[in-house]
């Protein structure tokens, strides 16, 4: 979240409410509703870390502050922009559950796979419904299409696990 704020402040100074509005414009209903508290807590942390500076608006009795990037903030933003995002890669809750629950006998592996397959297929259906409703704009469409591709890969992976499991059972 902090990098998003730095990026929004890179072009021009802004106060908290303007940042909130910009995020809403960029991401629309993709993002959970942001409250003022989250915005101001994040800005306070950024200021504490020397990444932004807030200045009181002269003559504003409500104590409104306008924020701008510091050199350190600009450097951190540049680094964030230059660094590719790491893949979701090996983080997978299902896999850990699968290994532990199977080895400890808490659940049959086939049952876990079956439940997980239903969840992935159902999520595919849910996401396709989002695309059909088509009210969230091109950014949302890309995000959902990406999630659909991931889910298809997850389903193929379940097939693979199931096949390996069958092979293991056939082995003497």
């Amino acid at each position: 979240m902090k990098e998003l704020f730095l990026a929004l402040l890179s072009g021009q100074r802004a106060h908290g409410y303007e940042l909130k509005r910009s995020l809403e414009q960029e991401f629309g209903s993709l993002l959970p509703a942001l409250n003022a508290g989250q915005i101001y807590t994040t800005l306070a942390r950024l200021e504490r870390d020397g990444l932004v500076v807030g200045e009181a608006v002269p003559g504003d009795s409500r104590g409104k502050r306008v924020y701008r990037l510091t050199e350190a903030g600009r450097a951190l933003l540049a680094e964030w922009i230059e660094t590719p995002a790491s893949s979701r890669g090996l983080k997978d809750e299902f896999f850990m559950k699968f290994v532990i629950a199977s080895s400890s006998g808490l659940a049959a592996p086939e049952t876990l796979i079956e439940r997980q397959r239903r969840e992935y297929l159902q999520t595919l259906r849910d996401l396709n419904a989002v695309l059909e409703a088509n009210g969230k704009g091109p950014a949302a469409e890309l995000l959902v299409e990406g999630a659909i591709l991931h889910l298809k890969a997850d389903l193929e992976w379940l097939e693979l696990i199931e096949q390996r499991l069958a092979l293991r059972e056939e082995a003497p």
Partner: protein, 243 residues
Amino acid sequence: MTAVLEARNLAKTYETGGAKVLALRGVDLSIKRGEFVAIMGPSGCGKSTLLNLLAGFDRPTAGEVWLGGERIDELSETELARLRRRKIGFVFQFFNLLPTLTAVENVELPLLLVGQRRRKARTSANALLSDLGIPDKHAVAPAELSGGQQQRVALARALANTPEIVLADEPTGNLDSAAARDVLGLLRQARDLGQTLLLVTHDASVASAADRVITLRDGLVANETALVAARQVTPLLELEGAQ
């Protein structure tokens, strides 16, 4: 509920160059009236073979196929052709519309083949096309329509005779993602109106449009999953550090 289409221990073996290929190794399948079922699996899993057997395009090595309470795998070619015209609607990946006929002529053809009067057939065909989102262009050749529109026409043709079941073989395989969504939406719309549907696809995302997804692997049913209506998904993104 009664089964509209049933496969009982269905097996199919091909011989190619002296080698036996077990395409299907005993598939049981039962599709109830009004159900929308998807058969999913990678190429070579047996799904095309299964579809061909269910439609009577090919004969099983063992097992039975029942359609609307009638055993069909032992019917003669003539009987099968007649049965398909009346009881099965087909939607194919490449639309398979007759290129020399107009859109509406393609849709009314199955009606004329079962002896309906020309004027009545034309009225039904026009109404079906409009229901499926082709309000005009009824008199144009398929080649002048987009892929998505051609598939709508093909779906109208498949539904024309109110068949026992519509068999859709990779119906979105040749469409862009927006047109594919439209066609899947229309299949579900047909289901909502009581039409029984069997969709065959390699694509899990397409299969998830159905209410029941059956996965084939190596000529056998590997698993089966029932789905519910789409759940609400919001919000989509999470902000790290915002709580």
